[in-house]
């Protein structure tokens, strides 16, 4: 049987999840930020010494290499070629400032400085017709001058190129013959809106060489370790071959949260849960995502303020995490976050700093155990937590526990707002969903959040701290393709035919891509969709379209569009003209059949899992609470709150009034009684 290893590189830890012969193994080790591949290779060797073979056929990998290249501005020396008169579009952006009430507004600087932004004498009109033809000579001259200036990577983005690729192709060809890496917007993002398209293309050019270099090094190292196949996690929740990932590196930038959502989706399916809301709470932020039978996507994300318009798992992020700092402001309000104590100095109880954080509040209330953190590799200091929280408690008449409970309440309110944004505010009733909690702190806060939103159930997967690695190992192989169309929807055969042709073209692109990546012949699942909007609007809704013959019939997808618009915005108008903005296609091949292993079945009594009984604060008072060791729980065990379930890298809090059940694959399912 095949084996596959998911490896998720985070800022602090690198997580490993091996699926082999139907069994799962996990491993965690410190990351090596200077070269993340070292931790990957070292982990493989260390874990392998552990008994199990750790000789996977395939590795699926997600890293922060692309993200960090942008955040730390360590990408390749990149140049940009634009239409004459438009080289500064990249810097002007949408001409806004990020914070309205800021006397000295700041924006993140563009990735290409003005002196490396050149203009080409060319121009297309809004129908793609040539107003000024680009000469091959000029293309070659521009490319050479840039190469001579030490440029390592080139981005090209012309106005309306998505309607006529000829001019960008000329530049791309010139760059290739000059041996210069080139990202053309027609390849990266053939969609309208010049700033967003330029930004995405430039990001790709900027991080491409860095990501490629990293992946080459990693593939070599893995090859020496006997691993032949390497797949890379992408922001869309699927994976691609290392070669494809290097070529469109921009698709890997937001792969971290995508891995978590993919893992949560897989866990939810294994537990028979169709509708899930994910809660990934880490040290500085929390990601939430709503899964209504499928992973949702957005193409409106950004990194460091730079727009990134490629399909990305639609996670909503809020600046609340275990490290979020609590303060009392000048008006007497308790604020928690978005400032975070991060990993350095970390929460006060880590012993290095004195900033009161959410983690300190949890520790003070007994919800975190000082000796059970990271499986005992790290001891937390309750006295440091008390000291740090004392100034906050002054506003609570010195009541430390009351202050700590309030810190949690405010942090929870911030997260609840994020959960509300993706559910209630988008027309979904949370009562029909299950909250899937993971990340270091998710299971600690999940039940309180579920109560705030009237979510009836919480699911804590068996490995909440390495769920991203699980998601990567289980991820399908995907490739996304898009073509701008920009046409009114017409109820006639010609239009239907035109759509059909556009999809057919994207499908053959997708087949070519998969064949070149994996050489597989198995037929991919083709998922078609259309970006639609009412004429005049500037925002589109992506509506799935059936791949059957009648899928392109407007009568079918228009009804779905009106329904979606009504749900999202509270009104729809079946009479109003609708436009197609883009045609989208995702081709998908199944990934490794990674499943959770079956757990030994117990008699329902969790007594064997008990490791202690302590006073833990719930609902404003200390309650005698059983502590359980998760690794000792068996299938079918039933727990009753108040209880804490401890494991290597996460603690689950089960408040009074909640009860839990361990299912056959080790998921912990919590439900509110009554």
């Amino acid at each position: 049987m095949a084996s596959v290893l998911g490896v998720d590189v985070g800022g602090t830890f690198t997580d490993f999840l091996l699926w082999e012969d139907g069994r799962l193994f996990v491993y965690k080790r410190p990351s090596t930020p200077d070269d993340p591949s070292r931790a990957v290779l070292a982990g493989l060797a260390e874990a392998g010494a552990d008994g199990a073979a750790w000789r996977p056929d395939e590795v699926v990998h997600g890293s922060t290499v692309a993200t960090n290249a942008v955040l730390e501005r360590k990408g390749a020396r990149t140049a940009l070629i634009t239409t004459e008169g438009f080289r500064d579009v990249l810097e002007i952006g949408r001409q806004t400032r990020p914070n309205l009430y800021d006397l000295e507004p700041r924006r993140s600087p563009p990735l290409v400085p003005q002196r490396l932004r050149l203009e080409a004498r060319e121009r297309l009109d809004y129908r793609g017709e040539v107003l000024q033809r680009l000469s091959k000579r000029e293309a070659v001259k521009l490319v050479r001058s840039l190469r001579d200036r030490g440029v390592k990577s080139l981005a090209v983005c012309f106005l309306f190129s998505f309607l006529n690729p000829r001019h960008e192709e000329l530049v791309r060809d010139a760059a290739r013959s000059a041996g210069l890496a080139c990202s053309a917007s027609i390849d990266v993002l053939p969609e309208h809106r010049e700033y967003e398209r330029t930004s995405t293309t430039v990001l790709n050019a900027y991080i491409g060489p860095v990501v490629e270099r990293y992946l080459t090094r990693l593939a070599e190292g893995l090859g020496h370790a006997g691993v032949r196949n390497l797949r890379i996690m992408q922001s869309n929740g699927g994976s691609a071959s290392a070669a494809a990932a290097g070529a469109t590196a921009v698709r890997t930038v937001l792969s971290g949260p995508a891995g978590g959502v993919a893992g949560a989706f897989a866990s939810a399916k294994s537990a028979g849960v169709k509708r899930a809301i994910t809660l990934d709470m880490g040290g500085t932020s929390t990601d939430v995502c709503l899964l209504d039978g499928a992973v949702p996507f957005t193409s409106e994300s950004s990194i460091d303020g730079l727009p990134l318009r490629i399909p990305t798992v639609d996670v909503h992020t809020v600046g609340a995490g275990g490290g979020s700092i609590a303060t009392i402001d000048a008006g007497g309000a308790l604020r928690v976050g978005p400032e975070s104590a991060g990993a350095d100095p970390g929460p006060a109880c880590y012993g290095a700093g004195d900033l009161p954080t959410v983690t300190d509040a949890n520790l003070l209330l007994g919800r975190l155990r000082p000796d059970a953190f990271l499986g005992g590799r790290m001891t937390l200091s309750p006295s440091a937590a008390r000291r740090a929280l004392r100034p906050v408690a002054r506003n609570f008449s010195g009541d430390l526990e009351g202050a700590a409970a309030s810190v949690l309440e405010v942090a929870n309110a911030n997260m609840a707002r994020a959960l509300r944004v993706i559910s209630v505010e988008r027309g979904h009733d949370p009562r029909r969903f299950t909250l899937v909690a993971f990340g270091g702190a998710g299971p600690l806060h999940a039940c309180d959040l579920a109560e705030a939103l009237a979510i009836p159930r919480v699911l804590v997967p068996p490995f909440p701290g390495v769920l991203s690695a699980f998601g990567m190992a289980a991820s399908p192989i995907t490739t996304d393709h898009v073509q701008a169309l920009l046409a009114p929807v017409e109820d006639d055969g010609a239009f239907t035919h035109r759509l059909g042709r556009a999809f057919a073209m994207l499908e053959s692109q997708a087949r070519r891509s998969l064949r070149s990546q994996f050489g597989r012949s198995s037929a991919p699942v083709m998922r078609r969709s259309l970006d639609l909007r009412y004429a005049g609007q500037s925002y589109e809704l992506t509506i799935p379209v059936s791949a059957r013959a009648d899928g392109c019939d407007p009568a079918r997808f228009l009804a779905a569009f009106h329904r979606a618009h009504g749900r999202r915005y509270g009104h729809a108008d079946a009479e109003r003209a609708v436009e197609v903005v883009a045609v989208r296609l995702r081709a998908e091949l199944p990934g490794a059949p990674v499943r959770l292993a079956r757990l030994a079945r117990g008699d329902g009594d969790p007594r064997l899992g008990r490791v202690g009984r302590e006073a833990v604060w719930f609902g404003g008072r200390p309650r005698a609470t059983w502590l359980y060791d998760r690794s000792r729980l068996r299938g079918g065990d039933r727990l009753r709150g108040p209880a804490l379930v401890l494991q290597l890298d996460a603690t689950t809090a089960i408040p009074p009034g909640w009860q839990g059940r361990v299912d056959d694959t080790g998921n912990l399912l919590l439900e509110c009684e009554g």
Binding site: G85, F86, R87, D88, V89, E91, I92, G93, R94, Q95, T96, R97, N99, L100, Y101, D102, L103, E104, P105, R106, R107, Q114, Y126, L159, F160, H192, R193, E194, E196, I328, A330, G331, G332, A333, L334, R335, V336, R394, N395, F396, E409, V410, A413, N414, R417, V421, V424, E425, L486, Y534, G536, Q537, S538, Y539, H565, R568, Y569, G570, H571, R576
Partner: protein
């Protein structure tokens, strides 16, 4: 220290009320019809309590900030209200600012029980055309009636039923009625969203708690504001600046302020500012308040609530019949977009004297308004385009000013050139940062002002054009020994290549093939320029 307020509830409800206003904005922006709202996001949404005091305003457009409370006040004489009533208005002398900004005000009642009033919701959106002398409704008018259709407060919806007759009258008076209807529908949708969200809160927490929390949040914002004012030394600070001209005569239009800081209050006295002018540079009182409140809000922490409490420690004296407090029927469209910016400049200038070393130099100080309209023969329909162009931000104590950014009273986005050319019969030939070679448009200084932008339009059909700009005669001022920013300039080149300089404010017709060039001002410099300046000094100092 004893504190009767609940520190936890403050944080929780601050975020809850803010999200009601923000969610209204999302609905409005995503479902509107015209690029002016969907792409440029020229709109604001707010929540008021049952006493018509501001509770939360989404951070959209500052010029709407102080003006929204006046809109609610102007709607109140129509009371008693019933559930489902929505008031519409744009009369600058009755709750509006300038005619293109159409405001809706709706009361929100509890669904069950006594059906008590919970509060009011307000949305305001800039509509690309509301009739009047020129397409885009930003003409150089001499009286309000020339600027477009005037809507006094009236019910657009009565108990949920649309007032079709009033709507018909309104739409007959604008150039692009379908677009107006689409945008008004989006505003109505925003109110439905807001009402749902606010009533969700009432269901979850009960009306009594919601009402109490509204009041507590206002008190909280007041405490934050007084704490911020406490940092300003008591005293009297004067500042004067002027508009280039009023678009009719060439004389500058002075604006003067005397700031008195005393016992954690601020008083702004505009006595000495120019009498109102025969053109549209007049600001109504609501616009002047917005400009002042904007500056006050900038002194608070970034995440502080924006509500009635911020306004309580602040008072204004506005001379009657002046450019900062116009009287009917004076024209006002440029007062909203241009005079408001100069009011910010004088208020900041006065503050710079009170807080030397904390306030940045003047930013572009203009919205560089361009309106183009006419009949689009290729598409067979009339068109009206309005856009504002960014300039340079003033440099400040923490570093260089940003280039090509909207500052102070506006923060509207640009419309993508690709979206423009698909919708309108003109082309954009150049859109770039306004630095030519080594010549920079931001003022030199220890920290340099941001650069302005250049945009060049080429017309494909004859069209009517109105431009309203400022800082075309004198560049934005500097501080502490820096140099002023470069002033803006505009030109028209006809098809034969003859180029003509344009006044800062003007309206004219253009032939197909003509090109309009707009060059916007750079921001002022901050601190004495030193010749041999190490590079990293210009980077932002972490504060």
């Amino acid at each position: 220290m004893t504190n009767r307020v609940d520190p936890t509830a403050l944080a929780v409800f601050h975020s809850l009320f803010a999200s009601v206003a923000e969610e209204m904005g999302v609905t409005l922006g995503r479902t509107a019809h015209s690029p002016n709202i969907t792409e440029r996001r020229d709109y604001s949404c707010a929540v008021f309590d049952a006493e018509a005091r501001l509770v939360a305003q989404a951070a959209h457009i500052p010029v709407h900030l102080g003006a929204m409370p006046v809109s609610v006040q102007a709607a109140l004489p129509l009371a008693p209200f019933a559930p489902g009533d929505i008031v519409i208005l744009n009369d600058p002398y009755l709750g509006g600012t300038h005619l293109p900004d159409i405001t809706l005000v709706s009361p929100v009642f509890e669904r069950a029980g006594r059906r008590a009033l919970v509060g009011y919701l307000v949305s305001r959106a800039h509509h690309a055309d509301v009739g009047g002398m020129t397409p885009g409704s930003m003409p150089l008018a001499t009286e309000l009636h020339q600027e477009g259709v005037i809507i006094p407060p009236l019910r657009l919806l009565r108990r949920g039923r649309r007032n079709e007759e009033a709507l018909a009258l309104l739409l007959r008076n604008v150039r692009t009625p379908d677009e107006r209807r689409g945008d008004l529908d989006a505003q109505l949708a925003a109110h439905r969203t807001g009402e749902e969200r606010l009533l969700d809160l009432v269901t979850r927490y009960g009306r009594r708690q919601v009402v109490t929390r509204m009041r507590e949040l206002q008190d909280y914002a007041e405490r934050l504001t007084r704490a911020a004012i406490n940092e300003i030394p008591n005293g009297v600070y004067d500042f004067e600046d002027s508009l280039d001209d009023d678009g009719d005569s060439a004389n500058p239009v002075p604006i003067r302020v005397r700031l008195t800081v005393r016992n954690r209050t601020l008083h702004f006295d505009f006595t000495g500012s120019s009498p109102q002018r025969p053109t549209s540079v007049n600001a109504v009182a609501a616009v002047t308040s917005s400009a002042v409140y904007y500056v006050v809000r900038c002194l608070l922490p970034g995440d502080a609530p924006t509500n009635d409490g911020c306004l309580r420690p602040v008072s204004l004296t506005l001379p009657e019949a002046s450019v900062v407090n116009a009287s009917s029927p004076h024209a006002v469209s440029a007062g909203n977009v241009e005079t408001s910016q100069r009011i910010v400049d004088v208020v900041l200038g006065a503050l710079a004297k009170a807080l030397p070393g904390r306030i940045p130099a003047a930013s572009a100080g203009t919205m560089n308004n361009v309106t183009i309209g006419g009949f689009d023969a290729a598409r067979g329909r009339p068109f009206a385009y309005y856009e504002t162009l960014a300039g340079g931000a003033g440099a400040g104590p923490s570093g260089d000013g940003l280039s090509a950014v909207h500052t102070h009273m506006t923060n509207t986005m640009n419309t993508p050139v690709e979206a423009l050319e698909m919708a309108y019969p003109f082309r954009v030939r150049r859109y770039s940062i306004r630095n030519r070679g080594r010549r920079r448009t931001g003022g030199d200084g220890r920290f340099r002002g941001g650069a302005g932008v250049v945009r060049e339009y080429e017309f494909l059909t004859p069209a009517q054009v109105t431009i309203v700009g400022e800082r075309r005669k004198r560049g934005p001022w500097s501080l502490r020994g820096g140099r002023p920013g470069t002033r803006g300039r505009d030109s028209l080149t006809d098809a034969s290549g003859r180029r003509k300089k344009l006044p800062s404010k003007g309206q004219f017709t253009v032939a197909a093939g003509a090109r309009l060039g707009i060059e916007t001002p750079g921001g002022g410099g901050w601190g004495r320029p030193s010749r041999a300046k190490p590079r990293q000094m210009r980077k932002r100092v972490k504060t």
